[in-house]
Amino acid sequence: MKTGFGIFLAAFFTIGLSWCGLVLTPQLQLGGAKLEPVLNSADTYPLQPTGAATLGLQVYRANGCAACHTEQVRQGGVACEISLTGLGIYKPADFTAYVKSLFALNELADLTNSITASLKGWNGDLPKTLLTCTNKALADDMASRLKAVGVKSETHIVATGLDVARGWGERQSVAADYLYDQPVQLGSLRAGPDLANIGVRMPDANWQMLHLYAPKSVAPNSTMPSFKFLFEVRRIKAGDAPSPDALKLPAAFAPAAGYEVVPKPEAKEMVAYLLGLKANAPLYEAPFTPATAAKK
């Protein structure tokens, strides 16, 4: 082994370099991650999860939910939406004519199709989405031209992509979303839908309980297994009222008469965790205009 030292050096640098890339650099980048300010708001993100939700993460983990569910929304791209909020002195027909006259300008040629399509059959209702384009400079140019003639508009930033189109989130998942998760339940397979925003999409605790006990009772085509062992089927004592926690199951899934299904603490913790999954705050690294603000 005349070259033993050379082989050692080569192996050391190869492994050392991957360690730097896979362990050290992420640690330097995100090791000191803190709460982040929510865009255009005095709030910070993420919220500290409740005690039940913190325990619920361990139930989620123990039951292998991450084997079929992801908690990461992917974003294909970003687009600007110019929304008209006031026409100033214009009538809708005049405004349409004015916008069409802008098409003669070379720099706005790319917007022709988008604007033509959105103005088709418009009866003058406001607010009205005038155009959607991925080029911010072009959108700003258009907005300043509208402002110059006294037309009021707002520019909304919207995330695009398959996951967003499915309604799984308004923006992509970023590191801040997992600040309190220990361990992070990213998941890699989507036999079921993404859960990054389940607390926003399905905020009804009762629905979540039914779905855990008998998935087909609320989603007939669900392939999710039943998590009946998180619940207790018990006899209602004679003369007692049913427990307030008892599930209100449809007849096909209900237990025998005189029995009730009540969630064990694990089920309650899991539901608390699921309802706390709300990755919907606009952040600096994942900006968007929230739908609520857009409606105002």
Binding site: L30, N40, E285, A286
Partner: protein, 200 residues
């Protein structure tokens, strides 16, 4: 036996040995080319490993341009932030004022005036002496808390207090504040009578 020995010695003579020869030039060229292409790709797409930059964004400048900064909601949120750090300490984060510190802004006549000219003079000049707000007598002094605020921030605060806690009045813009600031006759605190002489 002797044949076997012979073949053994032959094979050991044919064993490959490590020599020190230069790597072929084409490998070096291809490696450098790959490094160059990878470097160019990172330069275009990585945002220089900034932890704040995720795809589809490829640079800090691009991410900055996509920050939603305009719109009424943004101004209102800014106003809330500034109010809670500057005004809320005395006037209360709920706008109800604090006994012995500051009168309420919720339901105040000056705040709820149609115009904001008189209201804007209060943070720009300060206010001192007796005044009746929402049916109660107050006799305190307020310094010119807004004199050092940027135009846009002061406008955002005024917009916020004019549209919160039941107040429903129009928004104020940075340009409005700029004009009012330019037209200030004095930077000394006003009394109630002096304030009422200023037009709404």
């Amino acid at each position: 036996m002797s044949d076997e020995n012979k073949s053994n010695s032959d094979s050991s003579a044919n064993e490959p040995v490590v020599t020190r020869s230069a790597a072929p030039m084409w490998i070096i060229v291809v490696t450098l080319l790959i490094i160059f292409v990878a470097g160019y790709y990172f330069d275009q797409h990585s945002g220089w490993f900034n932890p704040k930059i995720y795809g589809p964004y490829s640079s800090a400048e691009q991410l900055e341009t996509f920050q939603p900064k305009s719109g009424a909601a943004a101004a209102l949120a800014r106003g809330k932030t500034v109010y809670e750090t500057v005004c809320g300490i005395c006037h209360g984060t709920d706008g109800m004022g604090k006994p012995g510190q500051a009168p309420p802004l919720a339901g105040s006549d000056v705040v709820n005036a149609k115009g904001f000219n008189r209201l804007a003079h209060v943070p720009l000049r300060g206010l001192t002496g007796p005044i009746t707000v929402a049916g109660k007598e107050w006799n305190l002094s307020m310094a010119a808390m807004g004199a050092a605020l940027p135009d846009d921030d002061l406008a955002a605060v005024l917009t916020y207090i004019r549209s919160s806690w039941g107040n429903k009045q129009s928004a104020v813009t940075g340009d409005d504040i700029k004009k009012i600031r330019a037209g200030l006759k004095s930077s000394q605190p006003m009394t109630h009578e002096q304030m009422m002489q200023i037009s709404e």
